[in-house]
């Protein structure tokens, strides 16, 4: 093999090696084996997951980040959840709650200063005020609330979540689980355990032999129950006491005991939790996003210098990104036991993935670097959207009964999402065409290639969006008794089909040529983004399961940017350059 050939594959291999390195488990922190504690399986939100997932999702919701800076160190999710569970006074002092809304800050008497993050202690004096404001705002339907009301409801919900977590294994003001176990049987203890059973966010105690697979309990429920206390309670008590007293040996012994016990009664839960924690640690979609950016930058560099070397190098990075992305997607499918698209978050991951794969195929067909560019841009764009959607909570949440059908999720949802991917990809190629037209020297052969690619992708998108929409109709006919109900999400999908059909007919009738085709393809981006996200903002209809309002402005800016690009696409070549 030639040296230059090896060099071109080196960046991709290096990227993969870096990804593998993140899979190694971290060592103990201050002697505490926190990673092992994070693997403890618990039942939350209707499914078994490692405690690490509970901690990460909660941190994302509360702080929009997966770590907390405290006393000069970055606390990971496992260390943070330990503080929350067993040292609540310490957790209360950590800068956790991200608050951006100036009116909410004003309500709390806080100033927008260097930090946007506030500790529970800083917010605590105003809890009553926040609750009052939030309850008043909650009386309104979500679309009717103003910015302040949304922000205060959001803060209140995060405070509730934090409070539930602090009261999940023992009440926040409890002297510890040991004392609680000793006090069993006294009326005061029973009252405390009752409120604990109600407040707890998750259930860490596995069902014992003879109990049903879903009979996980929280510590409050277990202490209220008759008979001998659940054997895992003493192990948990040891974990808590060891952590609070700063004794790593006791803590590690408690964790090992807890794992041993869970391993005997629920070995699958332990295995599942271990796989999911690996997925959490590697964060394949985040790393994929980084690799796509590197691919894009390498490709840009290739247009300035050593194209022969850098263009293949960019492709190797793209391939590495696609591999990491695919492994992430596959892991989610295996962990969840479901087809790839189950909610808005996973649709973003999948739209990006399908666009990347299409881009890789295009690059292999044409080898001009454009396939790499659009694939990397699509991959990066969709994963960054997914990254923001992950702030809404557990991305592997359970499916509502009406959506609980792997067959239809696998057929309708996947096909229609591939249709979205295709329409976006055509739009991205058209954007590349537009930018090239005004920046790069004229090159009819490349232009021809781009037009061919766009045309082909639009045909592909029409096929998938049509079949996907129709399969959705059939699903609706099977579950609700009507093939077509003019529901907002259905209408969104229909718009994509109609628009792709309009483009193709206009092209066949020769009403649009190169420039028109490209401008229409960019307009496809607007239609797809509106039907993908805009519909969720309407908050009506059977499909509005992914409501969000923060994204409204992002969407508005996206639409404006696309309109500008359409204008740029239609403008004469290099109109901005002074004529000689």
């Amino acid at each position: 093999m030639k040296l230059s050939k090896l060099f071109t594959w080196l960046p991709g291999l290096l990227a993969l090696a870096a990804v593998l390195a993140t899979a190694l488990p971290p060592g103990p922190v201050r002697g505490f084996d926190m990673e092992k504690f994070g693997r403890t399986p618990v039942l939350e939100g209707g499914r078994i997951k490692p405690l690490d997932s509970v901690a990460r999702n909660a941190l994302l919701m509360i702080r929009s980040k997966q770590s907390v800076p405290f006393e000069g160190r970055e606390l990971g999710p496992d260390e943070w959840i330990l503080d929350v569970l067993f040292r609540p006074q310490t957790a209360d002092a950590q800068p956790l709650f991200v608050i951006n809304d100036p009116d909410v800050l004003g309500l709390l008497g806080l100033k927008q200063g260097a930090s946007r993050y506030f500790s529970f202690d800083a917010i605590a004096p105003h809890l009553q005020e926040i609750e009052q404001q939030a309850r008043a705002a909650q009386a309104l339907e979500s679309p009717q609330r103003n910015r302040f009301q949304n922000a205060v409801v959001n803060l209140f919900e995060r405070l509730l979540l934090f409070n539930q977590l602090e009261n999940s294994i023992q009440l926040a003001d409890s002297p510890g689980l040991y004392m609680e176990l000793q006090a069993l049987g006294t009326p005061q203890a029973a009252a405390r355990h009752k409120s604990l059973a109600e407040a707890a966010r998750f259930r860490p105690l596995p069902p014992l032999p003879g109990q049903g697979a879903e009979a996980w309990q929280n510590t409050g429920e277990a202490m209220l129950g008759a008979g001998a206390p659940h054997p895992a309670l003493t192990a948990l008590a040891l974990v808590g006491a060891g952590y609070k007293a700063g004794q790593p040996e006791a803590f590690n012994r408690g964790v090992a005991e807890l794992r041993g016990l869970t391993g005997t009664v629920r070995p699958q839960a332990l295995r599942h939790a271990s796989s999911e924690i690996l997925f959490n640690r590697v964060q394949p979609f985040y790393l994929g996003m980084v690799i796509y950016v590197l691919a894009l930058l390498t490709l840009f560099a290739s247009w300035l210098w050593r194209r022969d070397l850098l263009q293949p190098a960019a492709f190797s990075l793209l391939a590495a990104g696609a591999l990491v992305h695919s492994i992430g997607l596959l892991s989610r499918i295996l962990l969840q036991g479901r087809p790839p698209v189950t909610n808005l978050y996973s649709s973003a991951v999948f739209v990006g993935w399908a666009a990347v794969i299409l881009g890789v195929i295009l690059e292999r067909m044409y080898r001009k670097g454009f396939g790499t560019a659009v694939a990397a841009a699509a991959g990066f764009g969709s994963l960054i959207i997914a990254h923001h959607l992950a702030m809404e909570g557990d991305t592997m949440e359970m499916m509502r009964a009406v959506l609980d059908s792997n067959f239809w999720l696998a057929t309708h949802v996947v096909t229609v999402t591939v249709g979205y991917s295709g329409t976006f990809l055509a739009g991205i190629i058209a954007i590349a065409y537009t930018l090239r037209k005004h920046i790069a020297p004229e090159d009819p052969a490349t232009t021809r290639t781009l037009v061919d690619m766009t045309y082909g992708i639009i045909c592909f998108a029409l096929f998938f969006s049509f079949v996907g929409t129709v399969l959705g109709g059939i699903w609706a006919d099977q579950s609700w008794g009507r093939f077509w109900g003019w529901d907002p999400k259905e209408n969104g999908a229909l718009l994509i089909v109609l628009w792709n059909a309009v483009i193709l007919h206009a092209r066949w009738g020769d009403y649009i040529r190169e420039k028109g085709l490209m401008a229409c393809a960019i307009f496809g981006n607007i239609i797809t983004s509106l039907s993908w996200f805009g519909v969720n903002m309407l908050g009506i209809g059977l499909h509005s399961y992914g409501f969000m309002d923060k994204a409204f402005w992002a969407l508005a800016w996206f639409v404006i940017s696309q309109l500008l690009l359409i204008a740029l696409c239609l403008a004469p070549r290099r109109f901005w350059a002074t004529e000689d």
């Binding site: 949440e397 008794g481 003019w486 209408n491 109609l498 206009a506 309407l538």
Partner: protein, 388 residues
């Protein structure tokens, strides 16, 4: 001259321009219909924009509504006509075009299916409590004045006067009974409240209605609201008047009078359609995911009994698994009363198979067409590659 003009019109009608304009109009209608759903409810928006020939709007200063936009039905008809004309005009047998022909034939069928649905689909529901046996469907939108002959509690006879006949001043005889009803006043939707001092006397002089104040309300717009349909009626039988009664969908206990030894109960209820068979709810089940309030599944175990056909069987109806029987489909739709009551949505649509057929046609056609195109493109590339 006329021939040439006719030819030009024909060419225009079969042209791609018409196709594109119609498709763009359809897109605009879909957007309008989606946005209007927040205000008009799904059914209202669909009737205004999609199932109408023209979209009518009242403008300020103009006393009558104006047709401002072509409606979905008109655009659909234009599309079907345009497509048929194009098929007739440009038809040539060419295996390379075969895919396209199939696609467009499928499209005509799809639009036809939506017309059939709009015209013939009947949406009803069946509400059953555990252990109860029901032999009728209830309408979602139409109401009726229900008359129940409750003389023998074990064998109640049901009669109904559809809301379409309940117009003020009308006199309606109920076939099968000696009863005639004089309609005094009818409200599609109303607000009812206990009468307070100073209120004008009620039209009713019998039953609870005499003490109720009633005010007219606009018909329910959203899908969540239900009309409180109310009516003042005077039952007459054998020349005897039984007084004027206020009967309303929101008044609880049925009101009754006795004529010739028979007890008649009055109520306003969703319009009923009786079936030649009965459905009994044996068991309704509903689970949440543990520790959450996310529903995991619902199902109704029902017993279907059709003596005329000698059919007696149990059926389990659950999500995505309806019972198709007698040209109707029974879906699990809702539940209530602490999981002892099940609501089935019952849909009769003679055209329900059309979309399935048309989808098969279009999918196969698209596959064939794009497959052929792709094959030719690859072949061309190979040829030009060899030539280079």
């Amino acid at each position: 001259m006329i021939r040439r003009l006719a030819l030009r019109v024909w060419n225009f009608l079969a042209s791609l321009q018409v196709t594109i304009v119609a498709l763009v109009l359809l897109m605009a209608l879909v957007v309008l219909c989606t946005l209007a759903q927040a205000e008009l409810g799904t059914l209202g928006a669909v009737n205004t924009y999609m199932r109408s020939m023209l979209v009518w709007r009242r403008l300020q200063g103009v006393p009558f509504p104006l047709p401002l936009f072509p409606g979905g039905a008109l655009v659909g008809l234009v599309l079907v006509f345009n497509l048929t004309a194009a098929l007739v005009k440009r038809f040539e047998f060419n295996p390379r075009k075969l895919g396209l022909w199939v696609v467009h034939a499928g499209l005509i069928l799809l639009v036809a299916g939506e017309f059939v649905t709009g015209a013939f689909q009947v949406d009803t529901r069946m509400t059953i409590e555990e252990g109860q046996t029901v032999n009728f469907l209830e309408s979602y939108h139409q109401m009726e004045l229900g008359i129940t002959d409750a003389t023998d509690p074990a064998r109640r006879e049901e009669y109904g006067i559809p809301d379409a006949l309940l117009r003020a001043g009308a006199t309606v005889a109920v076939p099968g009974t000696p009863l005639t009803f004089k309609v005094k006043r009818y409200y599609v939707n109303a607000q009812l409240a206990p009468m307070v001092q100073g209120d004008p006397p009620s039209l009713a002089n019998m039953g609870v209605g005499a003490g109720v104040r009633i005010t007219e309300a606009p018909p329910a717009a959203s899908d969540k609201e239900v009309n409180a349909t109310s009516v003042f009626v005077e039952p007459v039988a054998g020349g005897i008047s039984y007084g004027t009664w206020l009967v309303s969908a929101v008044l609880g206990a049925p009101q009754s009078f006795i004529h010739a030894g028979r007890t008649y109960q009055l109520s306003v209820r969703p319009r009923r359609t009786y079936l030649p068979y009965t459905v009994t709810l044996r068991k309704f089940s509903h689970d949440n995911y543990p520790g959450t309030d996310i529903p995991k599944n619902f199902s109704s175990l029902v017993h279907l009994s059709n003596p005329a056909r000698g059919e007696q069987r149990d059926v389990l109806i659950y999500m995505n698994q309806p019972l198709r029987y007698d040209g109707k489909a029974f879906y699990q739709a809702s539940y209530g009363k602490g999981d002892t009551l099940s609501v089935l949505q019952v849909v009769g649509n003679p055209g329900w198979l059309l979309p399935y057929v048309s989808c098969m046609l279009i999918t196969l056609g698209l596959l064939a067409h794009f497959g052929i195109t792709l094959y030719n493109a690859i072949k061309r590339r190979q040829l030009s590659g060899e030539a280079a």
